[in-house]
Structures are given as structure tokens and as C-alpha cells.
């Protein structure tokens, strides 16, 4: 299991906080491209906050006043506010890279840190975030909400989860699309090594539902170069298969294959207009994510 301090990276959060993460394109052309942190009238209630001089009296919740003899105003989710859902791959393969029995330095650890950092920035700018784990030992969906407690809830889920099973990203994407119904950003943080992800069917699904997928592919640095020496028995982390190989003899071919796969995912994402970022576990995520934010702006998402 991970701890809170394992997934909360203040430096990464501080770096990303300087950039405003754009939301999906607005369905209200009159309102223009989004990025607003202001709360306004909307169909969705968000929260109560204590009345301050200047607040709109029409938002005053008189029922709460009657009960508590204190003035509170209602806050609603602004339809110009961004909603974001983080789909974090918690399949067994995401445990690669750590020592047995631990998750620190694994791909899942990196994915959790990235999700928390991005979520923190979105919440700070007034947006709402949610979380769904793909794979893992239990199915969890956290609906998008704003506010600091949402971040705590995300951290709680991410630190408690244990990578297991298969990701089933296509099914997860369908499920997310069914739940969200209206425009939202879907951050897919995964290694995208499942065979089913090669055709990026899940991405197409999300796009069809009017959602904005954003891909962050994570691989461990050893998965790129296969640095092992002498004969090795490789065990499939998500299946029962195994393979005995001399990695020295196939290193070059393997490197070509894995890189080709990553490039395939990247091109596919680009083709579908989904911002894409690739990270290996020894890369500094800050600059990479900053580039992705830039890409999101360029793609007209904000």
C-alpha cells in the first residue's frame, strides 16, 4: 500500500498550479471556451458557504437559516466549470517496478502521483474531479465533485487500492461515458500495454459520448530497455504465462517492439485529437505534463 505522502508531490503540484488546465470545449458557444473558476447559477448544487457581504441574496438558503439562525448561500456547479474524471490503471501490471510487497517506485505509484497532482490543480481552479480505478482489488467510482474533501477522498482510494487483475480499459471507458453523459475530461493514466488498447476503442467511445479523453502513458524504464542479463524466466503479471529467454539476445528487437507500440498509441491519440503524454518512471513528470497542458490549449480544449 502507498501512503499519503507517497502520492502527494508538492513540487509537482506547485509546478502544475502555475498553469491553468483547460477544460473540454463548451457546448454553449456563447459562453466561449472555458476556463472559469467562478461559481454561478447552474442546475447542479455544489455546496453551502457562509454569507459574505456582496454575495447574491437570491442564493441565500433560507431553510438553513431557519434551522441554524445563520446565513448560508448555495453554491452551484457552473456549467462552464470543468469536470474531470481520472481513470487510473490499477491492473496487476501497474505494480511493475517496485520491490515485492511494495508499491513505491512502481508504475501505479507514478500514476497515483500524477492523478493527485492534476486533481489538486483542477480543484484549486474550481473544477470538479472524480476517480475510477481500472482493475484493482475492488471496483470504485468517485463521482466528480469540487472542494478539498474530494482530493482527500481520491487520495484515500488511491492509497488503499492494490493493483490486481486486468485493466479492461475499453469497458471502463464505456462505463465512464455512461455515467458522465455531458462534457467532461477523462484522464486515462495507464501503461496501455493491454492488447485491447492497441486499437484505442475506448478513446473512440469517449469521444462519441462528447467526452474529452486525455492520455498519459506510463512505462517503467526497464520495460523500455530490458536490462536483464543471462537467462531469465519472465512471468506474465496479468496471466498465467511465462517465457524463458536470454534477454541479451532479444534486447534490441524487444526495444524496437515496445517503442513501436508506444508510438502507435501516441499516433492514435493524436489522430483522435486526444492530448497525449508519455512518461517513463525515471522521467520528471512536471515538464511532460506541462507540455500536455500546452497541447490541450493548442487543441482548443480551453
Amino acid at each position: 500500500m502507498l501512503s499519503r505522502s507517497d502520492v502527494l508531490d508538492p513540487n509537482l503540484i506547485a509546478l502544475l498550479s502555475r498553469k491553468e488546465i483547460p477544460g473540454p470545449p463548451s457546448s454553449f458557444p456563447l459562453r466561449g471556451a472555458h476556463q472559469s473558476s467562478k461559481r454561478g447559477a447552474s442546475l447542479e448544487f455544489s455546496e453551502h458557504t457562509e454569507y459574505s457581504p456582496g454575495d447574491d441574496l437570491r442564493s441565500m438558503d433560507w431553510k438553513v437559516y431557519a434551522k441554524s439562525d445563520r446565513y448560508f448561500v448555495k453554491r452551484f456547479e457552473d456549467e462552464r466549470q470543468q469536470r474531470a474524471v481520472f481513470v487510473v490503471d490499477a491492473s496487476a501490471s501497474m505494480a511493475y517496478g517496485s520491490r515485492p510487497g511494495e508499491l513505491v517506485d512502481s508504475k501505479y505509484h507514478s500514476a497515483a502521483k500524477i492523478a493527485v497532482a492534476l486533481a489538486s490543480c483542477l480543484l484549486r481552479q474550481g473544477d470538479s474531479v472524480g476517480l475510477e480505478l481500472a482493475g484493482g482489488d475492488e471496483k470504485i467510482f468517485l463521482p466528480p465533485r469540487s472542494g478539498t474533501p474530494q482530493l482527500d477522498a481520491m487520495i484515500e482510494i488511491l492509497t488503499r487500492a492494490e493493483p490486481a487483475g486486468v485493466a479492461g480499459l475499453n469497458a471502463v471507458c464505456r462505463s465512464v461515458g455512461d455515467r458522465l453523459r455531458s462534457s467532461a475530461s477523462v484522464f486515462l493514466i495507464s501503461d496501455f500495454l493491454d492488447e485491447e488498447t492497441e486499437d484505442l476503442h475506448g478513446i473512440r467511445l469517449l469521444k462519441a459520448r462528447g467526452l474529452s479523453p486525455r492520455l498519459i502513458q506510463l512505462l517503467h524504464v526497464d520495460e523500455l530497455d530490458l536490462p536483464h542479463e543471462s537467462s531469465v524466466k519472465y512471468l506474465d503479471m496479468e496471466g498465467a504465462g511465462s517465457l524463458v529467454l536470454d534477454p541479451l539476445t532479444i534486447r534490441k528487437s524487444y526495444a524496437e517492439e515496445i517503442r513501436a507500440h508506444v508510438s502507435l498509441i501516441a499516433r492514435g491519440a493524436e489522430l483522435h485529437g486526444a492530448p497525449y503524454a508519455f512518461l517513463s518512471t525515471d522521467d520528471d513528470p512536471g515538464p511532460v505534463l506541462a507540455r500536455q497542458v500546452q497541447m490541450m490549449r493548442q487543441m482548443g480544449a480551453g
Partner: protein, 687 residues
């Protein structure tokens, strides 16, 4: 191909290890979980075409590493192209003369020569035979055993060889070694020499056709040297004569001189000699002179020499004749010879006394007591004389008419005289059948008299003895006879008493019994007698002995020689001695030093000039030898041998290590991983 250490070839069995591992593949494997096997399978399929070849090459590389290591340790070699006709006989001759000690650039010619010969041994075949010798006079008998196959012992002998003092004859060494060549077998001779012109005593050396001679020239180009030729003593002091070759004659030099244990004296000179003003006196001492800069050869920069010392000998002349100082006085001529302003005055302090006035105090203060014609003496005087004699003083007794055999008998001064006298013979001139005198037998000179025989023998030819005393000299009495009359009768005898020496002249020292005192040789004779009796070194050696060469000993009796390193060597009477090293040698008789001998490096070795061009052709004949500079490689075409091929296997080892590292991918960990960025170009057929 052959091997120096074939035992290590057992290591070739180790190449079975990678083969067995390769075939069985039963190695302990690591188990690594991985996200997906899909890409590994694709990679395996893709690499399968090269996989077998790569594995095979890897196996070959690993086998080559183990095999190359084993062969390297075994010391591989093979015969060279020039000659594979069977075993070769090798004769290695090292010029070990003192000139080979010349040093240039911190390396001596001898070291270069030894290095070249050892390198030649490295090229020898495993079945070859060897003989090693130096240029020290080679008589061939010492190598009757002939050649040896034990190259190790030959290497050790060559490596441990050093400069040898003595008579060096390269021609004799060559001819003697060549004579050992068996007919039909042939021989390779390697001669390492500095080609010093002085080292070649022969104009022509004939070697038979079965001998291949290679000369390794280890001499220096333009040799230069400066050395001390001699040290001459005169009444004012010393003159040190220098000699140079290859140097500017006007080059400034520093000459130092140390006498005995004294402080060094320094002179700065340009040119050929340096003079030192020093007062000298009787007694022999040693000194050493040195010159700097001394040139290429350091052995001759210093010269030990012997000189007359500074202390005067105290001589007490006791006149036994009571008649007073007359013209026929016993000691007249002695007095004249030892007078202060006479020739011996600088060496001796003379005092005189009549026998009747002789006291123990006179005796105690004398180094030598010369008693001329002594008569009967009180017992206490005899005791005093005996005591002084035993403590190291000298006593010389000349016979005279005061002796009376009837009165004094055989016991007359028995403990003091070298031999008792028995009778007296007076030769009268009226006997026409014989000469009116006895002459001296010049060939009978022994001990200190030998020097006189060599230098002044002719001056004794006029000696006539008309009266002499017959002495009772018997064999086994340890009495030395130093002079005889021509009738065989001992004329001068000597005997050791305690630490001292007593000598007896069997005739008179005045003109009563002989004309000795009138001979030109009288004064040098007197000088030798006084010095010899006192135990002071006689100075019988003139000049220097040459280290390594024998020198005849003239002392007439068996003596001991103490070398510079303290070793004692006995030299029989009339024998010879070989000083092995330059330096001062002490001649001892019954433990008492009686003489000094100075030995030096052969001065012929100081001139380092090489043979003139073309001289070797005239010595050996054109085409009868090969010559290389500094090592034998220059004549490799005619030198059959063995080549060390370790470098080939070392290259194979390195190449195999490199190949194994590349094929196994071990390099990858050395390089920093390049960061990967996806390629966004290219087909996307899977979407």
C-alpha cells in the same frame, strides 16, 4: 609451436565449461514478473533468425577467452623462419674487461651486453645447447664439459656476470670456444663487447666455416675518459699525472689526494698533472688520489698508492771498538751515510754510543740498534736488548775482531744474534791458488736484498770479503739467509725474535773484513737493512700491481697477504700473488706488517677508443661475421631462434573479450540511457 610452461595447457580443459553450459542450458535463472509477454514473444520471433548465430558466436568467444588464457600462461613460441634444421649450439661470450664498466646514460656497457645476450637466449629453441664464458683469459680446459642444455643455468651465469680484473683476451676466448664446435653441427657465437681496441691482441682470428659469429657492439659512440696515470713522490711532495682521451685537453679537473687518515688535499688543474707539496719521511704509508670529472669509466678515477711516511726511524749505532774514533772506525761510514745532510738523513735519526757507555735508556729509545763489532756485554745489557728486540725493535750486528770464539764460546749473545758463530776465516793474499777474497753470490739475495739485486746488483760486483765469520746455520732453525758468499757461506742472516728482528752480518762493516762500506750499493743496502730490521715496510714493490694479474713476491720467505676485503692469502717464498681488486694489500710476516702492495685497474683498459672501421674485417675476414648495435636483433636473419608468440594470443584474448562483451550486451550498462519519445510519424495500421 612449443611452450615454455606446458603444464598450463591443462587449463584448456576449462573450455569445456561454456560448452557444457551451452548444450545443457541448465543455468540458474532469475524469475522476473513482467507486464506482458506479448512484446517478448514478438522480439523472440524477430530475433530468431540471428539468435542461433549470436549464441554460437558468444560460445566461440567464451571458448577463445579460456583457451587464449591457458596458452598465454604456457608461454607459446615457434621457431623462426631462418633455419629449422635442428638443435643449435650457442656460445655466448661476454667481454667482462674493466672497460665494460663505462657508463653512459645510467647504463653500463656491461649491462647492455648482458641484456643483449639474455634476449638472445629468449629466442633459443628448446633443444638447443649453450655455453657461456667471459673474455677473461680462456684456456679452454675450464669448459671441457662442453655445452649444456640447461638454459636456466646459462641465464643465471650471464645475469650474474660482472666486471673481472685480469688478463682479457677476446681472441683467445673466441678461438677456444670455436674449437669446441663439433664438426658438421655448427655453432652460433654471440660476442658482446665494447670493441675497445686494446682488447684485441691478435691481428687475425681464423674461425672455421661451421661457426657463425655475431658481434654485438655495446660500446659508446665517441667515448671519453680521464684517469690517473701515476703518482710520483719527490722530496717536495707528490705529482699526480693525469691522462685523458676524447676530452678537451684544457678541461678543468679536480684532483684530490688523501694520505693515510689525513684530510683530503684538493687541486684544480687544467692539463696533465697536479702537484702537492707535502713533507715526507721514512716509513711506508698509503694514500689515494682521485680525479673528477672522470669520464665514462669510473674504475680508473681513483688510484691507491704507497709512499714513504713521515716519521723518522731512530737508529742507535753502538760502536764495539774501544779504540776511539779513527779513520778506520767501525762506524765511520755508517755515520756518514746517516748524517743529517746525507742521503738517509731525512729517514733516520742517528745517535751513537760506545759499547762501554751503552745504557738501557739508549736502548729503550731506539727503533733499530746497529752494533758494529760488539764485544762481551754485561748480562743486564743483553737483557735490555732482548727486551727491546722482543717488543718490536730491530737489531743489526756486524761481526768484528771483538768477537772471540774461544773466549766467548757458542753462547756469545746467543739470544741476540741471528745465528751463533763457529769460526772465523781470514783470506790471505799470499795463496796463489785462490783469490785473495770471496765475492758475493748475487743470485743468493733474498728478502730485502732482492730489490738491491735488481737495481744495484752490478754495484755489489766489486764486493770483496777478506774476512768472514762462519755461522752455525742449520735447517729448521728458522733463520733466513739473505746473502751468501760465492762459496755458499751465509754472509747475512736474519731471525725473528718476538715482535722484532735480528740480523747478523758475518763480516765487518768497516774495511777490516770487506770493502762493503766502499761499494756504491752500501747506502741503499744500509737503508734496506735498517728498514727491514725495524719491521717497517720494505718497499720491495715498485709501481703498481695490476688487479687480476699475478705479481711475483720477492720477500724470500713465506708471507701472508691481507687483501682489501680482509682476506688472508699465504704466498710461498718466491711465489706469486694475484690481487683480485684494486687497492692496498698488506704483506705480513708472522703477523707483522713488513710491506705494502698497491694494485690498480689495468691502465690499458682506460683508453676506451674503439677499433678502427675495417679492423674487424682484417681480423676475421670480410663476410665472416655479422655485427649488430646493442642487441642481437640486427643479425636476426642469420640467427636461428625461437619467436615468442605470446603477443598473438594476447591479441586473440583481447578480441575475444571485446566480442563477448558486445554480444552479451554488457556495454549497455556503461552508457546512459537515451530518453525515449514516441515517434508520431509512420503508419498506424492497427487503429
Amino acid at each position: 609451436m612449443d611452450f615454455l610452461r606446458s603444464f598450463f595447457l591443462w587449463g584448456l580443459l576449462g573450455i569445456a565449461a561454456p560448452i557444457i553450459v551451452h548444450l545443457l542450458g541448465q543455468r540458474k535463472r532469475r524469475v522476473i514478473p513482467i507486464a506482458t509477454l506479448r512484446f517478448l514473444e514478438r522480439a523472440r520471433v524477430k530475433a530468431s533468425a540471428h539468435l542461433k548465430l549470436r549464441r554460437l558466436l558468444l560460445l566461440l568467444a567464451r571458448i577463445s577467452i579460456l583457451a587464449a588464457l591457458a596458452i598465454l600462461y604456457a608461454g607459446p613460441g615457434c621457431r623462426t623462419k631462418a633455419g629449422r634444421e635442428g638443435p643449435t649450439s650457442w656460445a655466448l661470450i661476454l667481454d667482462a674487461s674493466p672497460s665494460m664498466a663505462a657508463v653512459r646514460g645510467g647504463v653500463s656497457a656491461l649491462d647492455k651486453a648482458k641484456d643483449a645476450l639474455l634476449k638472445a637466449l629468449d629466442r633459443a629453441g628448446v633443444e638447443d645447447k649453450f655455453i657461456f664464458t667471459t673474455s677473461l683469459h680462456f684456456d679452454g680446459k675450464s669448459h671441457a664439459a662442453g655445452f649444456t642444455a640447461d638454459v636456466g643455468s646459462v641465464r643465471r651465469a650471464a645475469a650474474n656476470a660482472g666486471v673481472e680484473h685480469g688478463r682479457h683476451d677476446l681472441a683467445a676466448a673466441l678461438e677456444s670456444v670455436a674449437a669446441l664446435a663439433s664438426s658438421g653441427e655448427g655453432m652460433k657465437i654471440l660476442l658482446a663487447t665494447d670493441l675497445q681496441a686494446n682488447g684485441w691482441q691478435k691481428d687475425k682470428i681464423a674461425l672455421n666455416d661451421s661457426v657463425d659469429l655475431t658481434i654485438i657492439d655495446v660500446g659508446f659512440d665517441s667515448p671519453s675518459n680521464s684517469w690517473i696515470e701515476k703518482v710520483e713522490q719527490d722530496k717536495n711532495g707528490f705529482t699526480v699525472n693525469l691522462h685523458s682521451m676524447g676530452l678537451e685537453s684544457e678541461e678543468r679537473k679536480t684532483v684530490k689526494m688523501v694520505l693515510g687518515d689525513g684530510a683530503p688535499l684538493t687541486a684544480f688543474v687544467k692539463g696533465a698533472s697536479a702537484a702537492f707539496q707535502i713533507k715526507t719521511a721514512v716509513g711506508m704509508e698509503s694514500g689515494v688520489a682521485s680525479v673528477a670529472p672522470g669520464g665514462d669509466l669510473a674504475l680508473d678515477d681513483q688510484l691507491d698508492f704507497i709512499f714513504k711516511g713521515r716519521s723518522k726511524l731512530r737508529v742507535l749505532v753502538v760502536n764495539g771498538d774501544p779504540k776511539g774514533f779513527e779513520i778506520r772506525d767501525e762506524t765511520l761510514f755508517i755515520r756518514r751515510a746517516l748524517a743529517h745532510d746525507a742521503g738517509l738523513g731525512e729517514l733516520f735519526d742517528l745517535s751513537e754510543v760506545r759499547q762501554g757507555a751503552l745504557t738501557a735508556a739508549h736502548i729503550a729509545s731506539a727503533d733499530v740498534v746497529f752494533m758494529a763489532n760488539p764485544g762481551a756485554m754485561p748480562v743486564e745489557m743483553q737483557s735490555a736488548l732482548l727486551e727491546r728486540l722482543e717488543s718490536g725493535a730491530g737489531l743489526i750486528v756486524a761481526a768484528g775482531d771483538m768477537w772471540n770464539s774461544e773466549r766467548d764460546g757458542q753462547d756469545f749473545m746467543a739470544q741476540l744474534l741471528a745465528a751463533p758463530f763457529r769460526d772465523v776465516v781470514s783470506i790471505r793474499g799470499d795463496d796463489a791458488t785462490r783469490r785473495p777474497f770471496q765475492a758475493i753470490d748475487l743470485n743468493s739475495f733474498a728478502g730485502p736484498m732482492i730489490e738491491l739485486r735488481d737495481e744495484h746488483g752490478a754495484d755489489f760486483s766489486g764486493l770483496k770479503v777478506t774476512k768472514y765469520w762462519v755461522l752455525d746455520v742449520r735447517p729448521g732453525q728458522d733463520v733466513g739467509v739473505l746473502m751468501r758468499l760465492d762459496n755458499g757461506v751465509p754472509l747475512l742472516v736474519e731471525r725473528t725474535v718476538g715482535k722484532g728482528r735480528t740480523m747478523l752480518l758475518a763480516t765487518t762493516v768497516d774495511r777490516d773484513g770487506a770493502n762493503l762500506c766502499l761499494q756504491p750499493a752500501f747506502i741503499p743496502w744500509l737503508r734496506s737493512m735498517l728498514l727491514y730490521s725495524s719491521g717497517k715496510p720494505a718497499g720491495l714493490f715498485s709501481g703498481w700491481a695490476v688487479a687480476g694479474k699475478p705479481i711475483a713476491f720477492p720477500h724470500g720467505r713465506a708471507v701472508d697477504v691481507q687483501s682489501v676485503d680482509g682476506k688472508i692469502t699465504q704466498v710461498e717464498a718466491g711465489g706469486s700473488f694475484v690481487p683480485e681488486l684494486p687497492g692496498i694489500y698488506r704483506v705480513l710476516s708472522d703477523g707483522i706488517p713488513i710491506d705494502l702492495l698497491a694494485a690498480r685497474t689495468d691502465p690499458a683498459e682506460s683508453d676506451l677508443a674503439k677499433l678502427k672501421p675495417g679492423a674487424l674485417d682484417s681480423i676475421f675476414g670480410e663476410g665472416r661475421y655479422a655485427i649488430g648495435s646493442g642487441e642481437a636483433r640486427g643479425a636476426a636473419a642469420t640467427v636461428r631462434g625461437r619467436s615468442d608468440v605470446s603477443n598473438v594470443f594476447a591479441a586473440i584474448l583481447l578480441a575475444a573479450l571485446l566480442l563477448e562483451a558486445i554480444l552479451s550486451g554488457r556495454w549497455s550498462s556503461l552508457f546512459k540511457r537515451k530518453s525515449f519519445r514516441p515517434d508520431l510519424s509512420g503508419p498506424d495500421s492497427r487503429l
